[in-house]
């Protein structure tokens, strides 16, 4: 299992935990994963140990009205765990997520009016530039870390992105 795969697996487990999944199985192309979380006994049924999760953090903060009033273009950035949520929103079994390695502004093309680097349906190669994230006036070319088919773009051009925010979903070849 290579580093990328391992990272994907870890992401998935974090997500499962966050979603309070008790047991999980996955089989795909020679890969088979099965897991159950602690406190999820077979017969225990819905005996969810809430203590394991942070109650406090499930709490919708009083600050939410203000957050709603945030400029629309920042709404994806404003909630703490948004990257994870977005990640899951676009994630289906077997998809690889290209994430932003830096904080900045996402651009799909090298210049206004130019062709986007990639579009949904395109085939990308590992190392191919897929977009630009501008940070401190610098245009940073972001490369794909896998080869495959672009299944989804998760961010609109011109939108701010945080570290680790999902940009594209790619079905690996």
């Amino acid at each position: 299992m290579n580093a990328g795969q391992l990272q994907s697996l870890k992401d998935l487990i974090e997500f499962l935990k966050q979603q309070e999944v008790g047991e999980f199985e996955l089989e795909q192309e020679g890969l088979k994963v099965r897991l159950s979380f602690a406190g999820q006994g077979r017969s225990a049924g819905n005996n969810v140990d809430l203590g394991q999760l942070s109650h406090l953090l499930q709490y919708a903060p009083a600050a939410s009205p203000a957050a709603v009033a945030a400029p629309a273009h920042l709404s994806n950035v404003s909630a703490g765990p948004s990257a994870v949520e977005l990640s899951t929103a676009g994630e289906e079994a077997g998809l690889h997520i290209i994430k932003s390695p830096i904080v900045g502004t996402f651009y799909e093309a090298s210049a206004p009016g130019a062709e986007p680097y990639i579009k949904v349906g395109d085939q990308v190669e590992s190392g191919q530039v897929v977009c630009i994230v501008e940070a401190m006036k610098l245009m940073n070319e972001i490369e794909s870390d896998v080869a495959g088919e672009v299944v989804k773009r998760m961010v609109a051009s011109g939108q701010p992105v945080e570290y680790g925010q999902p940009l594209f979903a790619v079905r690996r070849r």
Binding site: A63, V77, P81, I102, V103, A135
Partner: protein
Amino acid sequence: MRFTNSLEFNTFTELRFMFRKVLIANRGEIALRIISACKEMGIRTVAIYSEADRNSLHVRFADEAICIGPPRSADSYLNVPAVISAAEIADVDAIHPGYGLLSENANFAEVCRASNIKFIGPPPEVTRLMGEKEKARMSMKKAKVPILPGSEGVIQSEEEALDWARQIGYPVILKASAGGGGRGMRVVRSPEELPNFFRAARTEAQNAFGNGDLYMEKFIERPRHIEFQVLADEHGNVMSLGERECSIQRRHQKLIEESPSLQVTPKMREEIGATLKRCLETIGYMNAGTVEFLMDEDGKLYFIEMNTRIQVEHPVTELVTGVDLVKAQFRIAAGEKLSEIVTRPIEMRGHAIECRINAEHPEKFTPSAGKISVFNLPGGNGVRVDTAQYAEGIVPPYYDSLIAKLIVHGTSRAEAVARMERALSMFVVEGIHTTIPLHQRIFADEDFRVGAFDTKFMERFFEREKLRRESAQ
């Protein structure tokens, strides 16, 4: 009976200008402290966080939060491009750096300026000046702030050494210019000892560092660490908010701070305050700052260095002066005058003490990261807790171990000591180790209780504990 006109306290201050939105370039309790001040001033807040801090309260209670990098500080909180980039996409007016991290990084302050973002702190030139210890010493000396007497440059000969020692006054300490770690170092208590010690130190320095250059400083046997809080506006006005006593340290890490110091008389406080005011007005200091001194056994103060940021221990000054230092930082940065921010003469009321509650093993001092299972805070009269931790929260292993500051205020030091003991006994943390039991032992110590301590206190304290343990066996 004397009552102040209540109306004085009830006018809504109309601010001419205030920041609309601020990014807090920090984490933990200080980030939450700054967010609290912003909320109270109607300023929108943007938290930044590393992946390890996703579930932190500074993220939860800020209006917006942006993940800027992986757990390691170097890749996230210390990553200037990431921080500035976050400030730009969130479109903030200002950045508050807190303490540690980027707070005394003049380059960062410069990048903020270039990016048209107000840095809440002094201008980079001042930070840079104060960051170069020798320049800072000279600036202070010029303004008649007492500095630790010492030789000027390298001492060439025994005769020169004797000469300097006579000027400085015994005891003195010889130090290796290239050195550190005690090597090439000698404490000299009389002119008779000097020649031999000088030769020995030079040889030792030569052998250890390949450089035998020595210099000399006044040696203080049992120094106290005493620091003065100052505020300076952007109109040339500086004000002292009295001192903090921070001698209870373990390996140069402060454990307990208090204000006022038992050693500083009102006359000294006034004199040092006036000198600092003159000196910092000359330098062009701005925003909050702390001037650190050593105090010798005769109660004389010697300047060591200046910290150009808010300090961990700022709450003790807030409690005795009634001035909200973090709010003052924002108001100064927004261009207000000190006379508008602090409308009454500074008066030190009662006594405040702070205990730093660290996630550490109370005997071994190894960091104790992990998940907090129980977190019961003390409350009630005269007790303040600054923390970003909570039950079920995680203490990540990547950052400093401070998880809470427990601060008490009483009418006297005796009341403050008793109140701290009470509060410590009601502060319950489980799941990780903390310094709470250590603080309880210190507060039971007779020397501590009567205020008889210096920066060597903790060494003696551990020594006494060890002896007691041994004799008990």
